[in-house]
């Protein structure tokens, strides 16, 4: 069966509807506003040139992001000092910002954790994300900023879903670590822990089965 070509009108609407998300993604790739704008423009031209290739109108958004990602890899990445994932980052131990802030002396009314979150500015989050290795940054932005599913991110970045899942977990872990560095600027420091949280869940005698209503 012949595939119906995506109309210019439909593609125009899709591009305009997703323009700010594409711009954000492009910026997270290039980390340069001007290059990000050029990249989006090139991706739009490429999309219109290849609109006959789209097999499903439902996947136009995913397809646009994939074009943008591929263009970045072929035309922009080499021009940049790419921060790749280092072995040390792959074996990073799990870091919990919550555990650090919870033990801090940061009390401004309410719990230290919620106060800390409310104090983090957009700029600090941008900076922390920008410092992530490229693979982690891409996965995190597509998932947490642009709301793509793991399967869609796998299609956009052309890696396995398991890889996407692992990159997102590592990205969140590293992001928390970087935001904890920001805590020092707010005058927050960890108190010496009296002891780590000791899990006693399910340890009491006779408490081997929990019951939930589903």
């Amino acid at each position: 069966m012949a595939v119906k070509e995506l109309s210019k009108e439909t593609l125009t609407n899709e591009v305009l509807m997703n323009l700010s998300a594409l711009q954000r993604f492009a910026f997270s790739l290039c980390q340069n506003k001007q290059q990000a704008e050029e990249l989006v423009s090139e991706a739009v031209v490429k999309a219109f040139e290849n609109r006959s290739q789209v097999r499903s109108e439902e996947k136009v958004r995913q397809w646009l992001f994939r074009i943008l990602n591929n263009l970045f890899i072929s035309n922009y990445r080499k021009a940049k000092n790419r921060k790749t994932v280092e072995l040390a980052e792959l074996s990073e131990p799990s870091f919990s910002l919550f555990e650090q802030v919870e033990m801090s002396s940061f009390t401004d009314g309410g719990t230290p954790e919620k106060n800390f979150i409310s104090k983090i500015t957009k700029e600090k989050i941008y900076t922390a994300i920008d410092e992530l290795p490229e693979e982690f940054r891409i996965a995190l932005v597509l998932c947490d900023v642009n709301d793509f599913s793991y399967a869609e991110i796998a299609a956009i970045t052309q890696v396995a879903i398991g890889t996407v899942r692992s990159r997102i977990a590592r990205a969140r872990n590293l992001l928390q670590k970087k935001l904890w560095q920001y805590a020092a600027e707010l005058g927050i420091s960890a108190k010496e822990k009296e002891k780590d949280h000791v899990c006693t869940c399910g340890k009491e005698e006779g408490q081997t089965i929990n019951t939930v209503t589903v």
């Binding site: 305009l16 323009l19 219109f48 869940c201 019951t211």
Partner: protein, 82 residues
């Protein structure tokens, strides 16, 4: 629909935390999900930590800012020329 009580195996805090990402991203299903929910309903520490992780995720999501009118105009002109 009639609700039924279902028994779930208890999990510890480490196992619960390891499921947070999948739960936040709607990938945790079936028994694994029920075990985590049961754990969160009983463990205040994990519940607080989970709420914190969710708050942080929503904070990152707020980076999805408004449209840039100048860029929109530029792209509209570009499309018109294609």
């Amino acid at each position: 629909m009639k609700k039924k009580n279902k028994q779930v195996q208890p999990i510890n805090c480490e196992q619960a935390v390891a499921r947070f990402n999948d739960f936040m991203d709607n990938y945790l299903k079936g028994e694994a999900r029920e075990e985590l929910m049961s754990h969160l309903s009983e463990c205040r520490h994990c519940m607080d930590r989970f709420e914190f992780e969710q708050l942080l995720k929503s904070k990152v999501h707020q980076l999805s800012g408004p449209d840039d009118p100048a860029m929109k105009e530029k792209i509209e002109k570009l499309i018109a020329s294609l």
